[in-house]
Each structure stands twice: as C-alpha cells, then as structure tokens.
Symmetry: C2
Subunit: 353 residues, 2 copies
DNA sequence: ATGAAAGCGCTAACAT
DNA sequence: ATGTTAGCGCTTTCAT
C-alpha cells in the first residue's frame, strides 16, 4: 500500500485522494489541511493557498464517514413515510428536504410501502446508520413498535399523527376544523343529507375528521344518520366500496365528504360507474389536495392540508431538538384551507348562514 | 421492561453502546464480538451466546460509519430524480428501493425539483458522501455538467434518457414503439386526423416519441400535418397550451396523442374548458400511466411505461457494475404496454387492419 | 502559525 | 477458539 509517488500520477486519478495526499502535495501537515477545510482560522495565507490548490488539483472530497466517526455526529436525518406514491407525502418530503438542506443536512428517505414491518426495518436501519434524528409519518396508529424507538431517545418528530398518542414532537393539521369547513361548505350549498367516508377509526386523524363532520352537522341542526357514515381503509379501494354503500342506501346522500385523498379517487370512480354526475347528482368534497385535483372532471373541491409547510415545520422542529435535546415536547397544529373548485357546484367560497 | 440491573447503568442507556461495551459485558474481546456479528464462524457456542445476550440487553447497533470507514466502502447508493411529485419517478424509486434493499444497500434520495442547479448540488453532495454509486434520472438532456460527473468514474446509471447521449449504463423504454402503439390504437378506431403534443425536441425521449408517431402515420398512409404537432414543456401547462392550439386549428384533430403524463393532464383540462367531450369530440391517449388515470373522467387510455421495472432494472445494473467496474456499458430498453380504458372510445385493445 | 499524536468504532491480519 | 493490534480518514488537543 506504500505508494511512492512524486507528483500526480495515474494512480491519483483512480484512487480517491485522502487528506494525507492533499497534505503531501501542499507540503504541510494533515492538521493544517484540516484547519483550512474547517474555515482556515489560524493558518497563514500562504499555506492556506497551497492547500486549496492541492484540494483542487486532486479533486479532493473529505470522507464523510471518517468525519462523522471522528466528530461523533452525523448531518443526516432519516425520513420514513408510509407511501411514496401518495402525493400528500411526497409534498411533505419536499418541504422537509428544503428546510434540511438549508441547514446543511442530508436526507435519507425510506418508503414503508404501507407495511409496518418494512417501516420497522427502515427505522432500525436508520438507527444503525446513526442518523442524527428521524422524521416519521407513521403507517399505523398503534404505539407498539414505536415505544421501543422512543426509548432509544433518538430525536424524533412525528408527522400527521402520533402513533398511539405517544409523547413526541408532532406536526399535524387541525383535522376537526378542516372537516367542519368541508361540511359547512356543503351545508351552505343547501345540502342536508351529507355522507361521510371515513378512514379506520383507530387513526386519530380519522376520528378527528369524523368529529368535525358531526359537530358541524349538529351545529346546523341537521340529524346524524349512522347509515350516512361509511368506513374504509385510507386507500382508493376503501373509498370506492364506501361510496357504493352510500349510493345503495334507500335514500342516498346528495353530498359526500371524503376524509382522505386516495379514498376520494375511489369514491369518484364509484359515482361515475353508476352513471351519476358530479355535482348534479352527488356533490363531493375531499380532504387533502392533489396536484391533479383540478384535472379531474369536474375539478375537485377539497380541504387542503399545507403539506409543504407540514414538512418544513417538522424539519425545523427536529433541528431545534437536535440543538437542544431537553426542550419540552411540542405539538404544532397547522390550519387547513378550503379550495373551492367545482365538484360541489359552488362558484367560489361560500359564506355561512 | 422492569429489568433490575446492576451492571447496565443509567449511562448505558443514554450513550449509544459500542462494540467495546458489548465485549466488556460479555467478558470477551472485541474481536470475538465482531466475529459473532459477522456470522459467528470460529466462535464457540458458549461465547457466541453471551455476546448475543449482551447485544440484546445493550440494544447494540454497529456504527455504520466506523464499519464503512474500515471496510473502505459504503453500502449506500444515491438516487437523484427531477421531480418527486411526478408519479412516474416515485414509482421508479420504489422499484430501485426494493431491489437495493434486497442487496443490503440503503438509498439516499435527492429531488432536483426540475432545477439543474439543485441537481448538480445533489450530485456533488452524494459524491462527498462517498456513495457507492448513483442512479440518475436527468433533469435535462444536455451533456454539460454530467461530463464532469462521468469523469470521476463514480458508478452511474441513467434512467429514462442519457443526457447528451453520454456513454453510461442506461435503462429506458422503447419510446418510438410505444408511440406507434398509441397512434395505431387511434388509427384502428378510425381516426385520420391525429394530433401530437410533444415535449421539447432536445429531449431524446420526445424525439423518439415523435418519430414513432410519424412512422405509424406514414405506415398507415396518413399525411403528416405540421400543424398537428404541438410542442410544450413536459409539464401540465405545456400540455394545456398545446391542446388549446390544436383546438384552435381551422380543422382540429379528432384524436390526440400526448407524449407525457403531466402534459396529458393539461390537455384534458383544455378540452373540458372548451366544453368538449372525451372521447366523443376528441379522443385522447397519454404516455405514462398514473395511479389515478382510471379515476379521471373518462378513465384515461395510456401507453404505460414499466416504471417499477425501470427502477428495479437500474438498481440491478448498478449493483452489477459495482461488482465488476470494467464491464461494458449497457443500455437496456424495456417495452411499454397499451392500457386501454375509455378516453379513446374503445372497449378493449384494438387489432390492426 | 504549525505539527505530532491520540483516538472515534470497527474489521482483519496476526498471534497465541 | 480467542485475543491483540494495526490501521481506515479525519478532527482536535497539546506541544512547539
């Protein structure tokens, strides 16, 4: 391994140069190189210049592993999402990414593919990898599996929901308030028979959205029909089946609020399959915006979550905890926004009674 | 969880345990621990057992940095895509991810957000990070910027297109053949005035798709009208503008082939805005499938790219090159598939004349 | 201002 | 079968 070389030989181009190579070439010690790389404090201009020249000719990049090993810390954070094909999460990731990048951190992304096992696998890989912290949008809302993670005291922030209501930093949206806005929009448009397609109720988000739906109905003096609430998995198929059930009712709803983006897609399909028109026969409003929501026919009215902000906020929360590990746990709740397009028949935002 | 312990102190829980801690606890040398971790060859069952017990109680995870540093290599590969919100790429990423995970590699994902500058930034971060290799779906089809990357000899495989036709491992699809299948479907349905909404022609993919369109028209003895071909950026807005231009023609096409998923969305919107119906007034067929393509109204007929396979293949190509750096450059071309839904008015796959 | 040297946690070659 | 030890590339005292 003792490579005796004079100048830049063929080898140098093949082998990744180390700090030692740079030091030799600049005729200084490796300590000096390190100092220049760190910012150059306490190094004479002369030497600094030689070092920088050597770095350039050798095309030297510090070995991040060695650096991290030595420094005992890592500028990488792990992000685990349930489903990379759900635009909600990709947009969240973009938000995280930008905030993190600005702070000099790199992002390691894992897609659990809706599988709790894969999620756990990623989580432990990430820990083995020694990431500085983890941002997690949980696949499931059960505390098991997450408890152990928490006990390791890895800086962790949850997005969307805190599994089993565990005590972690959390960024979420005002689900109930968003749901109320959706239902209110429908009521303002004159609907009195409003259906709900909800996600599984062990998800706190599903619960909150249903609560909002019920609150708004009650506030308007409208009755709550148990038959008007259909549950399904937070997937397209779930929305499809739920909508069919609603349409099969002796007296179907004239409007439906769907509590998740993918389910909304399924619901729309079910409506079209029946040869019904939106919004004339059934008005529909979704939760979560999608990039193509206004390419749907008709363009979809939704309660939009501030996805990008959700991600950026989570990243900032993590960064803050990294800086100050003992700071109190925080829960940040972001507001939703009603985006009126035409699937409810309204021309613009409606105003209350 | 109520483990009454003397040996494991408070500190042990706070500090991440190292191989040394495990060794002490198991009363063996660190070498023995390392051996057990590596598979346990040449270690007596007795000691191996003690080591495993210690690993478990301490919840020990090997430090990946140290491992990589020592091994001189890294089991991480970087992936850079142009746009994480485009379902084409997310699906590709899923394919990459699964193939890589099976081989014990972790994935570092960068989203260039359609910005060549950000893409370069990611590329150099990745190199500094010392990734084993890079999988790149280029933002642009110009060789500048990529040439330098290539010269560093990082194992690299391109997806979708090879920028500026640089000589790298590449996985792509049979664009021309896919385009021909699309146009043939339209011709079989009786259309003779078929428009094309194409991407910028400096993209090889756009060129190939246009070539396929022209070939098929010619093969069917149909004339090529220059006015029937509209160019636009590979985005929704591009498709929207192009479709409007087509519709503004004195004699608009009765069917349109759109060469990219996002553009198709824009095109559909333009058609609806004009109050036209699909497929009665205008038939439309897209390139690239989308998860929600059959939630569109009407469900969209497309030429689907095997996105997941595209990713998986790219990963395998990279893995192969990692194993054998000097192997000849490969280009793998995957076939597309016609997915008939109802936006062209067909009930099922059409057969040729 | 500069350099020598001690590790960070791990693996593998070398002893025993 | 087990332990001892020499680094991997880097940062950071501690000398000079």
């Amino acid at each position: 391994m003792a490579r005796i070389r004079r100048n830049v030989t063929q080898d140098d181009l093949e082998i990744t140069p180390t700090i030692k190579d740079v030091a030799e070439r600049a005729r200084v010690s490796i300590a000096t190189v390190s100092r220049v790389l760190a910012g150059g404090d306490g190094v004479s201009g002369e030497l600094a210049k030689r070092v920088r020249a050597a770095v350039r000719t050798l095309n030297y990049h510090p070995n991040r592993n060695a650096r991290n090993l030595r420094a005992g810390k890592i500028r990488t954070v792990g992000v685990v999402i349930p489903n990379i094909e759900n635009p909600f999460f990709t947009s969240v990731v973009r938000g995280i990414e930008n905030a993190l990048q600005a702070a000099g951190y790199t992002l390691l992304l894992g897609d659990a593919d809706e599988d709790p096992v894969r999620e756990q696998l990623y989580l432990s890989t990430l820990r083995a990898e020694g990431v500085a912290g983890i941002i997690l949008a949980p696949v499931d809302d059960k505390p098991e599996g997450y408890e152990e993670l928490l006990s390791t005291r890895v800086p962790l922030v949850a997005i969307d929901l805190s599994p089993g209501d565990l005590s972690v930093d959390l960024v979420t949206v005002a689900n109930a308030r968003g749901a109320r806005a959706a239902v209110r929009h429908l009521i303002n448009l004159g609907h009195t028979r409003i259906g709900l397609i909800s996600g599984p109720l062990h998800f706190s988000t599903a619960q909150e959205r249903r609560a909002g739906y019920e609150q708004e109905l009650t506030a308007a003096g409208l009755p709550l029909g148990a038959d008007l609430v259909q549950l399904g998995a937070f997937r397209e198929a779930g929305g499809h089946a739920a909508m069919r059930a609603l349409l099969d009712l002796p007296e179907p709803p004239t409007a439906v609020f769907v509590a998740n983006n993918l389910m909304t897609l399924g619901a729309i399909k079910a409506i079209h399959e029946r040869g019904l028109r939106i919004p004339d026969d059934v008005a529909i409003i979704g939760f979560d915006d999608m990039p193509w929501a206004d390419s749907l026919q008709p363009p979809l009215t939704v309660v939009a979550q501030p996805t990008y902000e959700l991600g950026a906020t989570a990243a900032r929360l993590l960064l803050a905890r990294l800086r100050e590990p003992e700071r109190p746990i925080r829960r940040i709740v972001l507001e939703t926004a009603l985006v009126v397009r035409s699937s409810c028949g309204a021309k613009g935002p409606t105003t209350g009674p």
